[in-house]
């Protein structure tokens, strides 16, 4: 199989390929860390699924991580990143939970799991897990108990010998609202529910929030955010101080001067499509197929003036980084340019050196 491990610059990396701008990543981490230093930030590895990137966040002072799958938790522990791991999701899989329980028993990781029902509390207990957060529904129709059931569940957990560290609640229904006032109002309403549940449950931890509410969520003791590291076109629309640092590098494999479009090898299998089409600077994206991106000149520009030809490299900006990264085996990290820090989006230099490769080692289940 062709591997990109031996490519030293973007000019020779096989495409499609994930490109991370290290300067942008560092800028984003520093910006977030100024508001949420150390353990106040619990980076969500579901966004990037890479222990190498998690290690870079630990170097920046953030030792606790949260995750959406047991495989992410196991991978973080195996990579020596198990200081304080939170499975911010429910599981009733006895084998997988027992595997986490063994990591705890053997002192290989501190693992807390979210619970929101009798069944998930019982499953955690049976698996030999010791610490939980009561997951509270704060408005997003997903996991989390009703707030008025949180106290009962905490009592049940404690009666079974579990340590209840506190509560968790994710205001995912408001983190993406582009209207700043509506977003602020939504987070306040959601956190009002969470804090009330915490008053009953007790414990040191109120965990929640995300990239979109990083500066408006003043209620949580730790912020669960992941997308801020590299952003995407959806979050870029919110006017946050974080910058887009993840693109998918493609190669133009075909052009059609008659109709006026070109085709690059960045298809929907190389992108998360749930938030819509990706963007290409100086172009208009028509649509994605499995392995193709059809795109053309922007309105008012002729195909000839657009100047795209077979063999050109293009940077494709995904609408949602989480499911984009999870489609790839690795991220290619380039140095990037701090000089461009005022620019919203910096297109990678086609000859940029690849300074690191971050395996996407936490994919799959």
């Amino acid at each position: 199989m062709t591997s990109s491990d031996d490519a030293s610059t973007l000019a020779t990396v096989p495409t499609p390929a994930l490109i991370v701008d290290r300067a942008v990543f560092d800028h984003n981490v520093a910006t977030m860390g100024a508001r949420w230093p150390g353990a106040a930030l619990r980076p969500h590895v579901k966004a990037f699924k890479s222990t190498a990137m998690a290690a870079a966040l630990r170097t920046a002072g953030h030792e606790g991580f949260c995750a959406a799958t047991t495989r992410e938790i196991e991978g973080l522990a195996a990579a020596g990143l198990g200081t304080d791991l939170l499975l911010a999701n429910e599981s009733v899989d006895p084998r997988r939970l027992a595997s986490l329980g063994r990591l705890v028993r053997d002192g290989l990781a501190r693992i807390t799991v979210a619970v929101d029902s009798d069944e998930t509390i019982d499953a955690a207990t049976s698996a030999g897990l010791r610490e939980v957060l009561i997951d509270v529904n704060v408005g997003l129709p997903r996991c989390g108990c009703e707030a008025d059931d949180a106290g009962r569940l905490a009592d049940r957990a404690r009666s079974l010998g579990l340590e209840v560290r506190g509560v968790m609640g994710y205001e995912g229904h408001v983190v993406g609202l582009e209207d700043r006032a509506a977003r602020d109002e939504g987070v306040a309403a959601a956190m009002h529910v969470l804090v009330a549940a915490h008053d009953v449950v007790g414990g040191d931890v109120i965990s929640g929030g995300g990239t979109g509410t990083w500066d408006s969520n003043t209620w949580v003791t730790e912020l669960q955010a992941g997308s801020f590291t590299l952003l995407d076109t959806a979050y870029a629309a919110l006017g946050l101080p974080f910058r887009p640092g993840l693109s998918v590098l493609g190669t133009v494999i075909s052009t059609n001067a008659t109709t006026g479009f070109a085709v690059a090898d960045v298809g929907l299998k190389a992108l998360g499509m749930d938030h819509g089409k990706p963007e290409v600077d100086g172009s208009f994206v028509w649509f994605c197929s499995d392995e193709h991106l059809t795109f053309g000149p922007p309105r008012g520009t002729s195909f000839a003036d657009w100047g795209v030809t077979v063999g050109d490299r293009v940077s494709v900006w995904p609408a949602h980084i989480d499911p984009t990264i999870s489609q790839h085996e690795r991220m290619h990290v380039i140095e990037g340019s701090t000089a461009s820090s005022e620019t919203a989006r910096v297109v990678p230099d086609p000859d940029a050196a690849i300074i690191e490769v971050w395996p996407v080692d936490l994919r799959n289940w």
Copy 2:
């Protein structure tokens, strides 16, 4: 890492997990093979990305395959399935094409590549490849030369010593049309263009078509189809004789009786979302998050009567199989039931034995 290799029934397989109904697969392959026997069918492995499944198709008599990526081609060759491989896509990557060229030189595979420009012809020649098809644009804005340029490109290819086996053209803009008459009209118009190009280019091969035009495309000498093997909800809407045989098994991890929904662990990272939401029988799907599917009772049914509880297994039917399969490491094959052949969709028996595991070994690039 938790592996599902040692799970023997669906009751114990970790979720989310791809489930293939072998009886449905066999029905679909037999139905297609009756119209397109042997080499007349060139199964498109991009749909399923598995050499094990390709081997099952070879057992059914289909020895030639087409693929969308060089990695698919290399994987098929490595698995001993290199009798007649077509890269039905353009590439100008010198290293990857050279890798295919070595397979040809060493007699490990017969490989034909699609070309649609001077650049792709030159790249194939430089790589030591010997056989090409002229890819013709028949209406889908993607790859393929303009029909009136096909003769010139064939001449150029031959002048460089390449064998031009014929033409290829994919009517992807019409294969999904639900209106049968419009679909038939569209395929006729597209194939009129392709046949005219073939008249100029020559060669034995007219390659094209797909699952949606399997019985209306009477012009091609070989059909490029892949989705017919397992279908999806998008193709199921066309009234074809193929049946849905691929589901994603999930586990209910949370329920909310107050609002009336449940959450399963089949999120958008376990699904292709470009064709829209998946379906769950007897339920209404609300939305997908990265690792969650929120769904509720159908209209007119109360949450209590719906009866979904934590720990239940659910079958999730994807809207598009190609990017669903490519998110997974393996497919779990169950025997299925031929007795249900008249039923449009058979929900897998929760205790069904897993008779085979098909690795999705052709993922990534």
